[in-house]
């Protein structure tokens, strides 16, 4: 183990997978650019050759479809979309084709494909360069979706996604790229569908997704100063998601906050909250609280961006509401 940044861990996973398996190749936009992928693919073209690292024309639909076809022909492609927003141009190959293929042909073939897409929020990039669309993909049967929040998982989930015989959407967030953490040197795998308990607590459960898991840890420290012990779960996989670990924690703490870096309506937080309400209603002492983005597109200017994205205080206030500390909640409001 040594300390790596999140972005270095992503790059290492790519390099190790390509070195270990000739079937793995990369295709997508920005692969030969020194900056486009934020350093996550730096010099892979030099290391492995441009035949296996194809910086493609901006044809998201056909490029993603080609990756599906190559997967069906026995390769292990990683198709890269430097903005998750661009993946919207490739919904047919992802949903109609890759996600349905195994079911349609009764398991006679599957699509061992990794679709990697980056959320590039912040930085005044506006509504078409920063959308967190994971809930849309979480909706689709046959497609797995993962969102690592730590350097170790950035590596472990990418390698697990490459191993998986099914299509996996791997979403990483530029806000996490500078995070550091211990990362195994060997080819480690984070099991898809398994959440991680990042902090043990007894008063409230905070289920965090992607950078919201990191935010939840910050909130938990603030809460600890107030004598509130929060259990923080980093969901890591959105589909399948770790219902048993989340429910177990909900039953223990009897209070749940879901912190999702996506929109509220029809979002990942709605699915998680609905499941907890259905399965553990009688074990809860308060309604489930959600911390999400407001139901508006991402603004561009710095001032509006700062108001748009939740901070740890939003999670702290949600915890107060859940614990019935109305006075604190109202004072904060």
């Amino acid at each position: 183990m040594r300390t790596l940044t999140y972005v270095a861990a992503i790059r290492e996973a790519h390099a190790q997978a390509m070195a270990a398996d000739r079937r793995v190749f990369l295709i997508g936009q920005g692969l030969w650019s020194p900056w486009y992928a934020g350093g996550s693919l730096e010099d892979l073209d030099r290391e492995f050759g441009r035949e296996r690292v194809l910086d493609s024309p901006v044809s998201e639909n056909a490029v993603t479809g080609m990756a599906v076809g190559a997967a069906l022909a026995g390769m292990r492609p990683i198709v890269f979309h430097p903005r998750l927003d661009f993946l919207l141009l490739a919904m047919d190959p992802v949903i109609n084709q890759a996600a349905n293929w195994s079911y349609l042909f009764a398991g006679q073939a599957s699509v061992p494909l990794v679709i990697r897409a980056v959320i590039n929020r912040g930085g005044e990039q506006g509504a078409q360069h920063s959308q967190a669309l994971h809930a849309m993909f979480m909706h689709v049967p046959g497609l797995k979706t993962v969102m690592p929040a730590t350097p170790a998982d950035a590596k472990g989930l990418l390698l697990a996604a490459i191993d998986d015989p099914n299509p996996v959407l791997y979403i990483d967030d530029r806000w996490l790229y500078a995070q550091t953490g211990l990362v195994p040197e060997e080819m480690c795998r984070t099991p898809i569908g398994e959440a991680a308990v990042r902090r043990i607590g007894s008063d409230v459960t905070i289920v965090g997704i992607s950078w919201m898991a990191a935010l939840a840890l910050e909130a938990a420290e603030l809460l600890a100063n107030q004598g509130i012990e929060a259990e923080v779960i980093d969901l890591r996989s959105l589909k399948p998601w770790d219902q048993s670990r989340v429910l177990e924690s909900a039953r223990k703490t009897r209070h749940v906050i879901v912190a999702d870096p996506g929109w509220r309506t029809g979002g990942a937080s709605a699915e998680i909250a609905a499941t907890i309400a259905a399965e553990a209603f009688h074990d809860l002492d308060a309604p489930i609280e959600r911390v999400t983005l407001p139901d508006t597109p991402a603004p561009t200017s710095r001032a509006e961006e700062q108001a748009y994205y939740p901070r740890p205080a939003a999670i702290v206030e949600a915890v107060w509401r859940a614990l019935g500390r109305q006075d604190q909640a109202e004072a904060a409001a």
Partner: protein, 306 residues
Amino acid sequence: MLRIRKGEEAIAQMSESGEARCPCHLSIGQEAIAAGVCAALGAEDTIWGGHRSHGHYLAKGGSLEGLFAEVLGKTTGCAGGRGGSMHLMDTEQGIPGTVPIVAGTVPLAAGSALAYKLRHEARVAVAFFGDGALEEGSVHETLNLAALYRLPMIFVCENNLYSSHLHWTERRVADNLDQAGVFHSVPSQRVDGNQVEAVYNAAREAAVRARLGAGPSFLECRTFRWRGHVGPGSDEDVGVERRGELAEWLARDPIERAEQELAMMSAIDLEPHRAAIDEEIGRALEAARRAAAPDPQRAGEYVCVL
């Protein structure tokens, strides 16, 4: 060709009687394209198709029993009864899959061609699609990518003049689909799609080019479907006016033309072949009808593979 014709006529009867309930898009009248292209391919080559792909599947080696059982939604169908007429596959025979999203498999075919190229395999991928698919952006994207990466691929456009109920003049200004590849530096030509030898020759040349590493080719094969867009009837059944072309195209029946050419070359007796096809169809129909329907308890299986 005869096997496709007779096989599809059997499917038409099953659709008409209500025995087959899934939407069936028949290629009757277009058989020379599937037969000619697949005759130019080897067992290691792959074909990708669309909603009207019974002919492609049979020409590449798919079984009649697998087709009939699939159309009837039986477990012995080529897609295990999950796909129906529009989802045919037989990976052993080089048929990875057909799907009804127009142009859906065109980029997938290119992806398989990329896999062959990366692995240095002398294999060719064929994308079969209709004239309507040229209205999809992904085909144009794929033409460029295939040219750029010099993929071992053949684009086979079956231009039957109609996209569902719309004549080409209602969808395009110029009759120039044979130019579709030119802008993307993909050699393109128009072929008489009702003349099996012409199709075979064009496909063989394209396959040789692909295997030599010279890149993709585009063939516009002109043809006409005798039946409606979907189902056993002609389009008039559902109130779609066609332009009276059918009589003209019936006179250019690809099977009759091939038979005449064969007769000129030698005194071949086709009767034993016809009898053998009829017998194969009879056996396949019987087996498909006898086969089990899927167990509804297992309808949740194979969403993901383990």
